[in-house]
């Protein structure tokens, strides 16, 4: 049965209208994957000798154990941002004689083959083998330790799914998780209660009593079953049936009226974002990533590398642009033929989208002004990045939209309505981020900081100046691609 489900997945990938784009992304991700594989493998092999060299007198395994908790939290964070939830189009399977449990298990087991589960192994196994080779402890003891570590990573794998799902359902549910982690982190940092040390001591106990390795494995099983139950409960076309159908939110966004001809489209887009889960997450993400600068600005290492700050500036002010913009016009895929036969000139349609994104860039730029705290240079850079985003990046992302062939189902049942946050999404954003960084870096190195900033600013203004023409050009391209888009958006499923 699993074999058949697997072949279904395979066909859905290769027979979809967006196979070219997906394949390109997969190849790019393959290279990145190769890079990380090598990096992790070298780190895994080198970990033992490195510790011996830099921390003489420390038992490497104990030292590593002390940092496991920190690592697990980091792992949770990057999985949250990069790992896609396992999804599958269950609707055609619902009426067939296949047990729910089978499909759910397939989906969950499939996720075990994720690259993100493979990475930690590259550290755990070489490090464990090195320990066995050095005979620091008994071989069985180290094997028990490795099993425990693998159990922990897999627990994170499944815990992430639960967290990510709650996040998409309800942003407020995330607050206790983030708050809890923050409290643990702060207590640890000020050495009030060092959870990471205690966690490490717990792991050390496995070396005394190898049978304790069963605990992380049990934890993994608990998370697995939790996921299983959760998915089985959602194995319905419409699991909202359990809840009362809520009163429709009939907010009118009347203030958009002042935009004249564009008003109906803007209203439409705001309703789209406000009333559907997936586009709504782009808003939450934008706000979340406003804090991104805090990682870079206070850090000494980056002070001499203003090119990094361009990256951060483009990212902070353009995060909504990247996440929302790259799925234009797929957001409207459910009713794309309607848009095509109604009296909607494509140029106006695109102008409205550009307007919405411009608005988001302006708002995010304003929200980022408190970074003035880190110096006027940073504020200036963020503003210039915002102008660059508006002038150059918005037309680029709209142009890229004409390659979209993949349908987004806004009304999908909650079982699989978690497409969205994944590695591919960030990769599409890379050119938008890297081009301005390279331009700035070039001018900064050859001439000066001021010249780099000026060039970005002038580019943005020129782009704004020619926006009308750029959009006309893009509209032409949409017109030519329209038939292929209609065809692609008609296909449902992944």
């Amino acid at each position: 049965m699993f074999k058949r489900l697997f072949s279904l997945e395979w066909k859905s990938f290769f027979r979809s209208a967006s196979v070219g784009r997906s394949l390109g992304l997969k190849i790019l991700m393959g290279f990145l994957g190769l890079y990380f594989t090598t990096a992790f493998l070298f780190f895994g092999i080198g970990l033992y000798p490195l510790i011996v060299e830099y921390f003489p007198g420390e038992e490497p395994l104990f030292l590593v154990n002390r940092f496991v908790l920190v690592w697990l939290i980091l792992e949770l964070a990057y999985r949250f941002l990069l790992q896609n939830l396992p999804i599958m189009d269950i609707k055609p399977l619902m009426l067939l004689p296949i047990k729910k449990r089978k499909v759910v298990d397939f989906v969950l087991l499939k996720s075990l083959y994720s690259f993100f589960n493979f990475l930690p192994l590259l550290i755990i196994i070489p490090f464990g083998v090195y320990n066995i080779y050095k005979q620091t402890f008994n071989t069985e003891v180290i094997i028990a330790w490795m099993i425990a570590m693998i159990g922990l990573t897999l627990s994170i794998n499944y815990a992430n799914f639960l967290i990510k799902k709650t996040f998409t359902d309800n942003i407020k549910a995330l607050i206790p998780v983030v708050g809890g982690i923050a409290v643990i982190g702060i207590l640890d940092y000020f050495k009030i209660f060092e959870s990471s040390v205690w966690f490490g001591k717990g792991l050390n106990e496995i070396l005394n009593y190898p049978l304790l390795a069963i605990i992380p494995v049990l934890l993994f099983i608990v998370f697995y079953i939790w996921n299983q139950k959760d998915l089985e409960n959602k194995f319905y076309l419409d699991s909202t049936l359990k809840e009362e159908v809520k009163d429709a939110n009939t907010k009118e966004f009347l203030w958009t009226k002042r935009f004249g001809d564009l008003a109906p489209y803007l209203q439409q887009d705001l309703k789209l974002i406000w009333r559907n889960k997936r586009p709504k997450t782009t808003i939450y993400l934008s706000i979340l990533f406003l804090a991104y600068g805090l990682i870079f600005y206070p850090n000494e290492t980056y002070q001499d590398m203003p090119a990094f700050f361009v990256f951060v500036g483009i990212f902070i002010t353009g995060i909504f642009m990247i996440n929302f913009g790259q799925f234009i016009p797929a957001w409207d895929s459910g009713y794309f033929p309607l848009i095509m036969v109604q009296n909607i000139p494509l140029k106006q349609y695109l102008t409205a989208k550009a307007g919405l994104i411009t608005f988001s860039v302006v708002v995010l730029a304003m929200l980022s002004t408190p970074y003035l705290y880190f110096g006027w240079k940073i504020l200036l850079m963020n503003m210039v990045c915002a102008v660059y985003n508006i002038g150059i990046n918005i037309p680029i992302i709209l142009y890229a939209g004409s390659f979209n062939r993949k349908r987004i189902d806004l009304d999908k049942s909650p079982f699989m309505n978690y497409q969205g946050i994944g590695a591919a999404q960030w990769i599409v954003g890379l050119p938008l981020l890297l081009i301005p960084v390279l331009i700035f870096w070039g001018f900064y190195k050859i001439i000066s900081f001021e010249s780099g900033i000026t060039v970005l600013f002038v580019m943005g203004i020129v782009g704004l100046f020619f926006r009308n023409r750029a959009i006309s050009f893009i509209a032409q391209r949409y017109k030519r691609q329209k038939y292929a888009m209609i065809e692609g958006f008609k296909q449902s499923g992944e």
Binding site: T250, Q268, L272, Y335, M340, V341, Q342, N343, I486
Partner: protein, 237 residues
């Protein structure tokens, strides 16, 4: 009003539609019938510039539909589910379509008044999103939306399918009222021969992409069509 010349559509070397010449004068109501795969939806999709013809052209009020978008302002249509925006309430949807067709709220409200009994008090003012309505009610919304803004051309693909009997009868009345004024050109496809002969002045039969019959409706038309569509059955007997 609508003219198709040398129109063909070929998919993988199979011709799915081949109309040498079809002319629909202003104000006519034309019914399109044919078995599955006859090319009805293909024809409508080409008329709405949703797919490109392999050869030939369609003119809507002398505008070549694939080259100029002017026809959109006076043509309205109803094809399949992909014509509904699920996250809007019915009112919002009507106003949105109205906005696009240069109708203000009052105009739309006035039009909706006429359909009060058609909606059967299940659609307006219920504070529900379209995605939460039943399939039949969604269909009613799509039909009425196609009538907003006094379109000169209306295209309805299988409007009778999946409607309850009361609504079918009401819909027939709506279409008849529209055709009586002789101003709106209406194109309807249907599998229901009784309904279609009742509301259309002219019936075109498609078979595997070819136009096999083109008749002006008369009391004998229904019989003629029934005989035509049961020909295979008789051959076997």
């Amino acid at each position: 009003m609508i003219t198709a010349t040398n129109l063909t559509k070929v998919y993988n070397k199979t011709t799915v539609l081949n109309i040498e010449h079809l002319d629909i004068p202003t104000g006519q109501s034309m019914g399109l019938v044919g078995n599955n795969g006859a090319g009805k939806t293909t024809f409508f999709s080409m008329l709405l510039d949703l797919i490109q013809p392999t050869t030939g052209n369609i003119f809507n009020n002398d505008i070549t539909v694939s080259q100029n978008e002017e026809w959109k302002s006076f043509t309205s249509s109803f094809i399949d589910e992909s014509f509904l925006i699920g996250y809007l309430t019915p009112e919002e949807y009507f106003y949105f379509i109205g906005d696009l067709r240069k109708q203000n709220k009052a105009d739309v409200d006035a039009l909706l008044q006429n359909f009060e009994d058609f909606f059967h008090d299940e659609i307006i003012g219920k504070r529900k999103y379209l995605r939460d309505l039943s399939k039949g009610n969604q269909k009613k919304v799509r039909i009425v939306a196609a009538l907003i803004g006094n379109p000169k051309v209306i295209i309805l693909d299988e409007p009778f399918a999946n409607l309850d009997p009361t609504t079918q009868i009401r819909l027939k009345k709506i279409i008849k009222d529209l055709t009586a004024q002789k101003e709106t050109t209406i194109l309807i496809s249907s599998h229901d021969l009784i309904h279609i002969t009742e509301v259309c002045e002219r019936i075109v039969v498609l078979d595997k992409g070819d136009m096999v019959k083109d008749i002006l409706t008369s009391p004998a038309t229904l019989d003629e069509l029934e005989t035509y569509f049961s020909r295979d059955l008789r051959l076997n007997q």
